[in-house]
């Protein structure tokens, strides 16, 4: 069968960087040209497959940031530079970048939720003039869990970047650092014109729910907010059924959804 959509291709690990005790960022040699927010199915023969967001990309590489949580991600964490892994994709709908042009964009990311939006930020970091403004809110459990520290530092030179942690420890938080939930930052945000503002919210389900509620309270409309949903996925192709919610397949119609639609999905 020449048209087998389940067949992955082999790709080399160009580099591997440790982010935290359980997260690593890999650069993989392959040319996918994804839309920010799309994902790939990553696999290791004999172990299994799992969906991973593309955290960034160049014309001939993709960046994946993977947290060690179970069988496949554990085995991926043992791979080193020059090893190979297997990929298929990119899959799903990414962020509609054209919708953000000329707007004030607020990006609120909780934990690994920063991965799927990182390439959105890079896109606008390269073209700051195309936005009216960019505010980045990044929340983590503790300072030890902060991802993409160098990037957060460098974005903070051009944009309003605020990092918050649920609890402190000995590791410093990049400035301006806060302690508390991401939702607590929203009442004090400068939102000059709610109608000209758009928001992206990505993180654990509870974080997304409450962050969206705060943004609505600040005068944004539901359809001005985009979220990226996480569901159990097996195929990434709209066949296996695991990710279906109502008549929506998160792997095909998402993972990025406008909040006006996402809010109505009944699991």
């Amino acid at each position: 069968m020449s048209n087998n959509p389940y067949l992955p291709f082999r790709a080399p690990i160009l580099s591997k960087t440790r982010q935290t005790a359980v997260d690593w960022t890999y650069h993989i040699g392959c040319s996918l040209n994804p839309v920010p927010g799309q994902f790939v199915e990553v696999s290791l023969p004999g172990v299994g497959e799992c969906p991973i967001s593309i955290s960034d990309f160049t014309p001939d590489s993709v960046e994946l940031t993977i947290r060690r949580v179970g069988k496949v991600t554990e085995n991926l964490s043992r791979l080193e530079e020059a090893d190979y892994l297997y990929l298929r994709g990119p899959y799903g709908q990414g962020f509609p970048l054209e919708q953000f042009a000329g707007r004030h964009l607020i990006i609120a990311a909780g934990g690994t939720g920063l991965a799927p939006v990182k390439s959105v930020i890079r896109h606008f970091a390269e073209r700051p003039e195309t936005l009216a403004g960019l505010t980045i809110l990044a929340g983590f459990k503790s300072p030890e869990d902060i991802l993409f520290r160098p990037e957060l530092e460098s974005w903070s030179r051009s944009f309003d970047v605020q990092v918050t942690v649920d609890q402190v420890c000995d590791v410093p938080v990049p400035s301006p650092g806060h302690v508390g939930l991401i939702t607590a930052l929203i009442p004090d945000l400068a939102i000059p014109s709610p109608t000209n503002t758009r928001a992206i919210v990505v993180g654990p389900p509870a974080m997304m729910k409450f962050t969206c509620a705060e943004l609505l309270r600040r005068g944004l409309k539901e359809d001005q907010i985009w979220v990226s949903l996480e569901r159990r996925m097996s195929c990434g192709l709209g066949k296996c059924g695991h990710c279906r919610v109502g008549s929506t397949h998160v792997c095909l119609d998402g993972p990025v959804f406008n909040y006006a639609k996402a809010r109505k999905l009944v699991d």
């Binding site: 069968m1 048209n3 087998n4 959509p5 389940y6 067949l7 992955p8 082999r10 696999s43 290791l44 023969p45 004999g46 172990v47 299994g48 497959e49 949580v69 179970g70 991600t73 190979y84 654990p204 389900p205 996480e230 569901r231 159990r232 097996s234 195929c235 192709l237 709209g238 066949k239 296996c240 059924g241 695991h242 279906r244 109502g246 008549s247 397949h249 792997c251 095909l252 009944v266 699991d267």
Partner: protein, 354 residues
């Protein structure tokens, strides 16, 4: 073309088809039934007409012929993939209208949903021809006519047992064989038109997503997944890798059936899960079968075969659940109308006072 074919002649016909076709039909599997000393009707390859069970509904549907319970997608060595060899023969399946309609639902789910067809299903599907087993009357708990799946005509020939022989309506390239082995006889297949216990569909069951009646299933359902397994239109699966003990560098990737009623179907890493409650799973399944699939594909997913009701060890009835939703909708509408009546009556009264 109508044909009357004697049992011996049909056996001859099957024999002549054998080199070109794998022929599947519902057969009796002795001792495999739900209760001790009972038989189970399931699908298997057949050689002769008397193996075919006509007078009972099959416990399992024919979906496993196109979409096996456990299917190797490819074998791998350290750096290479190899797809399994496939059987070149075509496939002939004896099935009923509801199950033939169910195949069209599988086509939607596995071929047409998403940008790429499922290549494994597609390959098997391209080889299949169907023999329609006539239903002259319903089996207990069927409701195909309620679902509009009682009459399906995409068959190579239809078949009805008649006094030791078979009445057929023959199409396509088999006319020549039937012409030789059978006798011409006008025949139009019969279809079931009504049911003892018809099922009524609600217009908008989503409105009752939060209704407390789903909670009954939270207690009752034991998440065994039999309803998913026996359903001719359940097509969910999980991909799974295995490696061989004697050589961990060699293994295979498989797909195995999965079911939304079973624990783990919507689990995420890190302990999060959707629909832990079995009542929520029941709602998810029922709404998919009678509402959500239709939103997408224009036809309902449930074909009214009645197998899930029969298979459930906890006596949970899908058809009663659907009827219950329709009743809830009726009473909600009646209530709304009554209120509307009250307000217009109140307006009348006001007018009178003036």
């Amino acid at each position: 073309m109508g044909s009357l074919i004697e049992a011996a002649a049909l056996d001859e016909l099957l024999r002549l088809l054998k080199p070109k076709y794998r022929i599947y039909a519902p057969v009796r599997l002795p001792g495999k039934g739900r209760f001790s000393d009972t038989d189970l009707i399931g699908y298997a390859e057949i050689n002769r007409s008397r193996d075919i069970v006509f007078n009972e509904r099959s416990y399992f549907s024919p979906k496993e012929i196109l979409f096996p319970v456990n299917q190797t997608l490819f074998y791998f060595t350290e750096s290479q993939w190899r797809e399994p060899e496939t059987d070149d023969r075509e496939i002939l399946v004896f099935l009923r209208s509801c199950d033939l309609e169910a195949v069209k639902r599988l086509d939607q789910a596995l071929l047409h949903n998403g940008p790429y067809p499922d290549s494994y299903y597609q390959e098997a599907r391209a080889k299949v021809k169907f023999v329609l087993m006539e239903c002259q009357e319903e089996f207990e708990g069927c409701f195909c006519a309620s679902m509009g799946t009682n009459e399906s005509r995409d068959y190579a020939f239809s078949i009805r047992p008649e006094n030791g022989a078979y009445l057929c309506d023959v199409r396509e390239d088999l006319e020549e064989l039937f012409g030789r082995l059978g006798k011409p006889r006008e025949h139009e297949p019969a279809f079931v038109r009504e049911h003892k216990n018809p099922v009524r569909l609600p217009d908008n069951p989503e409105a009752f997503s939060e209704h407390p009646f789903w909670r009954e299933y939270s207690e009752r359902c034991i998440a065994c997944g039999r309803c998913n397994v026996v359903c001719p239109t359940c097509s969910c699966f999980s991909l799974q890798d295995i490696f061989y003990d004697d050589n961990p560098k060699v293994g295979e990737r498989r797909r195995v059936w999965a079911g939304c009623q079973i624990d783990g179907f919507a689990d995420l890493a890190g302990g999060h899960s959707y629909r832990r409650d079995k009542g929520e799973r029941m709602r998810y399944k029922v709404l998919h079968k009678i509402y959500h699939f239709k939103e997408h594909f224009g036809v309902n997913l449930c074909v009214g075969c009645g197998r899930c009701d029969y298979a459930c060890p906890e006596y949970i009835s899908f058809s009663r659940c659907v009827n219950k939703l329709a009743e809830l909708e009726d009473s909600t509408k009646a209530e709304a109308n009554r209120k509307l009546g009250d307000t217009s009556a109140a307006v009348e009264v006001k007018k009178d006072v003036k």
